[in-house]
Symmetry: C2
Amino acid sequence: MKKGLLIVLSGPSGVGKGTVCKALMKKVQNVTYSVSATTRQPRLGEVDGVNYFFKTHEEFRSMMENDQLLEHAEYVGNYYGTPRAFVEETLAAGKDIILEIEVQGALKVKEKFPEGIFIFLLPPSLEELKDRIRGRGTENEVVIDHRMNVAVEEIALMEHYDYAVVNDEIDLACKRIESVIIAEHCKIEK
Amino acid sequence: MKKGLLIVLSGPSGVGKGTVCKALMKKVQNVTYSVSATTRQPRLGEVDGVNYFFKTHEEFRSMMENDQLLEHAEYVGNYYGTPRAFVEETLAAGKDIILEIEVQGALKVKEKFPEGIFIFLLPPSLEELKDRIRGRGTENEVVIDHRMNVAVEEIALMEHYDYAVVNDEIDLACKRIESVIIAEHCKIEK
């Protein structure tokens, strides 16, 4: 059986990865969402096992030690990681899977899956990114400035990705990502 | 200014290149259609300068001799060619252009524009292709058999292309081609 595509959607914090990915999952069929594990607190409306597997630091460390994570990264004091087994089983079953992860984690996945499709979600501008981070209302100015500095460093890593998608409007961003997935399925293997 | 994309839509005779391209041009904006020159007779409803530039053999030979064609090929006793100037001007203006051409011609264009996007339009099956060629009602069985032999040889050249799009339904084929164009615009240049 032909393996599925591993699609990695990444980009700086605040760019709207979660919102775009959620809209995309409603739009496309046959793409499975890889639920990440994290030690951060659930935000309002987030459900364990749907948005994330919410873990204590101890639980997360145990997964790391038992090689149950494809990648993991620390970000603003919390851990994020991709449970390995589910990704590998989905691909082996011939189904596409999408990972919505931070930039550090994406580059680690690339080491293990260089054949993956790496999509970098960009804000229309840095100003707009700052507004979005601020608009979330969960962080103070010091954290916002830190995130902006991290974002600038992360955008510099875009060259390691295959595609750049601007998140100007959610529907447009979704259409671009859907197009990338369809096009990749039409690619002739050399 | 960033150059436009050169998109080449090719595939065996009878696969539906013309129908798909026509539907595509209605659907997508900002893609210019490259009108080919040909010595073949117009089919019912075809308009000179819109579907093709219909040329006599003498006129066509003059274009060849004056290097006014990007490629040309003989097919079932007639010549087909792509006027060079219009393609180059469109790309230089930053606009995408689509060439709907025979397989021989496409591979010649690839020598000159290796950075082009080469899309091979496939029939759902060879049986279906034969039905389509027969259904056109313009050819006798000897010509149909010849075309089928040529088609099999052409499909073997698919490996030189970037994408394969199955023309099972026109709308689906169009969506795949549109997706390829959108995805190519999102590609990060290495």
